[in-house]
Amino acid sequence: MQTRLRLYFIVILILCTGIGLILYKHLALGFPLLPDDKKFVWTIEAKIDYIAQGNPVIVSFTLPPKETNLTFMEEDFASSDYGFSELTSPTGRRAQWSKNIATGAQTTYYRLSLYENDWIADQPPTDPPLTPKQPEFDEVFKTAAVTLLEQVRAKSANAEIFTRELIKTLNSTSPNQNQRLLLSDHADDDYKTNLIVNLLALEGISARVVRGLYLEDGRRRQSLTNFVEVHDGQQWLLFDQSTGNSGKPENFLMWQRGGQSLLDVVGGTNSKVSFSIIRNVQSTRNLVVRSSMNKQAGLIDFSIYSLPIEQQNAFKMILLLPIGALIVVIMRLIIGIRTSGTFMPILIALALIQTTLITGIIMFLIVVSTGLLIRSYLSRLNLLFVARISAVIIMVIVIMASISIISNKLGLSQAMTVTFFPMIILAWTIERMSVLWEEDGPREVFIQGAGSLLTALIAYLFMTNRIVEYLTFNFPELMLVNLAFILILGQYTGYRLSELYRFHSLERRNVTNKR
């Protein structure tokens, strides 16, 4: 009983470690549990054009902040002949390109690819608001502003509603005289944003400009859209200045917060920035592996992913073996199927993966049956055992080569995959089956042969399942769970399914005896 308790303790320990690691990878590192999990990767290119005057040039450009819910995969500051530096200040990151002498039309690029981490919630900024600076309006303008504010204040109860009402009033399709005066005729977006911020300051509400980019696939020559962010006493709220709606829209990348300029060019004129956006679909798993490697997450850094691709591919296969072993354990201990050689079915299943199912099974049957035929002749030659098994190996190779060559001539390229079958194992199978035939008759050969093939088939179906394949490779911790299962199955002392058949005659006789 003591050993049994110890075993259960170990099993639970292994199981918890395995499941814990899987959950950690899923929840903390974002590994998806299904292979088809896809993410949109946005590639944004900012193109900065200006005319240089032949003097030293400094181009300073605001970069988007690194929010926690975004993963920046790559940032690229491609501009030939320019010196480049990235400056970080409390107000945000800026890129600075510089050149000693430049003349004529100049272009610099900034490229960013990013994706959203959907397992981390979007967090609003937490920085405290500054006391609003009173705007300097002339008399007429101020009167109009105060009238408008009074009008809006009458309809609102707090800062949030006030802001929404203010924006709605300014955007109304039938503006009154005050609004027309405030907005003036040549009003562009920036002017309007500043007006809203100023009007809110007049009301004593902290507000600031936010610029961002709507992410839409295939857009070119886009510019940033202005939003207003308002502090309502507790938190910052984002308002769309053209609709008055609050909250962050979908697929919107916050580029800049606060009033500083987006682009400064010293030594150049006619500067302008335009954005183009492309969307790619990539598998979440690849993205996560890459970003985890970059972050040096210990579990990933010391994992199969750190191996060269070739070795990774080898492990893809190796990590499937435990699944096959589990199938064999279940088939033998629970179902009670007899196979020839304990783990031969797994090796056959591995070969089937390479050859595809139908071709593989046909080929296996051809090789084994031809082998048995030739082997029955060999048994008459009076050979020593080791010599005979070696002869069988050579025979198997000859059969394989003939199958490959003949099928190639016939144009059946599939059959050439016969080489993936493990030759030594096939030779052993042939030898064992041949002995079995001589001693226990063909019936036993068919039972064991069919049992082996069935087990191989089931193992094959599991091992080629995309989800199983994905999980075993990306969550090698599953092996621990698998191990725990096998340890538990090792304790199974109940009847095998085949024994229900084996002993079924007992039931009949017991009943007849009684009567």
Binding site: L333, V435, E439, T493, F503, S505, L506, E507
Partner: protein, 334 residues
């Protein structure tokens, strides 16, 4: 119904393969003792030392070059059996009942040349029949003479008696009769008839072939109910004594009856199979429970055999064979 339910098997007290491996073989049989029974030569030596009769050893072949001397080794013996020393399940056993200068005859009448026998011997030496393919040794034994009591019950072979001995107590017995289907081999898988034998009296209880009940021998048509094993009182202590001899707690003892020399041990098995339950139409569980409940094991095989006779006799009905109740009997008892 081709399948029975787990509940019914449990109520019959049937032991399954997993239960056997886990609860009997690995519990009672320390692995270091396996060679004593896996190596038939060692078993034979042990048995001889313990005064238990075994078939006479005519010769052994250890190396490939010994095969050259095979003719000289075989020459003086009219009849003999060639066996691999570590074979299991009756594999690799060749019985020769007769030979003239060129031909050796099997019980079935098939003739073999010396070269065929040499090949068979080489196969055994290179480990074809041994566990794990290890190099093996060949032993040549004297042929068992069929006891006339079995002459009507066997076809081209010698029947053998399998007795399961748990901690020194014989708990179940089965007679394996050769048939035409089994090619003269006493192997149930190949079609030998298994006859459950009452531990108390040595008389036949049930018989099965290929898992199905039979009442007569399929070849000789002799009815089994008239069969009683002779020397039963001598046989049981003989089987029980194998416990002291090997130290294995769960043992299958294979005994043959020789016309001239009486019961002899031919083989011991540390992993005896479960077909014996089918032949006896009874499960091992209740009998194991009786033995496991004993506080001490009597050192005298004779006393143990008597205990088993008293407790496991089916005809004396000392132990209800199984808890099978039909609806009809339920109603009656109520």
């Amino acid at each position: 119904m081709l399948l029975t339910s787990v509940r019914k098997l449990k109520s019959f007290g049937i032991i399954g393969m997993n239960q056997r491996n886990f609860g009997l073989v690995s519990k009672y049989n320390p692995r270091h003792l396996y060679p004593l029974v896996d190596d038939k030569l060692k078993t034979k030596m042990l048995a001889q030392k313990a005064g238990i009769s075994v078939p006479k050893l005519l010769g052994t072949l250890h190396f490939q070059h010994d095969v050259k001397k095979l003719r000289e080794t075989l020459e003086p013996h009219k009849q003999f059996v060639i066996k691999p020393v570590t074979g299991s399940g009756g594999k690799g056993i060749l019985v020769i009942t007769e030979h003239d200068h060129n031909f050796y005859y099997k019980p079935s009448g098939d003739s073999l040349r010396l070269s065929d026998i040499k090949r068979h011997v080489s196969n055994i030496l290179s480990g074809l029949h041994s566990l794990g393919g290890k190099p093996d040794t060949v032993m040549i034994e004297s042929l068992i003479q069929l006891d006339p009591i079995f002459s009507d019950y066997s076809h081209e072979g010698i029947p053998d008696l399998r007795i399961i001995v748990l901690k020194g107590y014989p708990i179940m017995a089965m007679l394996r009769l050769t048939t035409h289907a089994s090619d003269g081999k006493a192997n149930l898988h190949q079609g030998a008839v298994g006859v459950g034998i009452d531990i108390g009296t040595g008389s036949a209880l049930h018989a099965v072939q290929f898992g199905n009940p039979v009442s007569r021998h399929p070849d000789t048509k002799k009815i089994f109910s008239e069969l009683t094993i002779p020397h039963w009182d001598k046989l049981l202590p003989l089987a029980a004594a194998c416990y002291e001899m090997t130290g294995l707690g769960y043992l299958g003892v294979d005994i043959v009856l020789d016309r001239d020399q009486g019961p002899m041990i031919i083989e011991l098995n540390a992993r005896p199979g479960l077909s014996i339950q089918v032949a006896n139409c009874a499960g091992l569980v209740p009998r194991i429970a009786v033995i496991e409940a004993l506080s001490s094991i009597d050192p005298d095989p004779q006393v143990r055999a008597d205990f088993s006779k008293k407790n496991f006799s089916t005809t004396l009905r000392m132990l209800p064979p199984r808890k099978l109740r039909t609806r009809a009997t339920d109603l009656v008892t109520k």
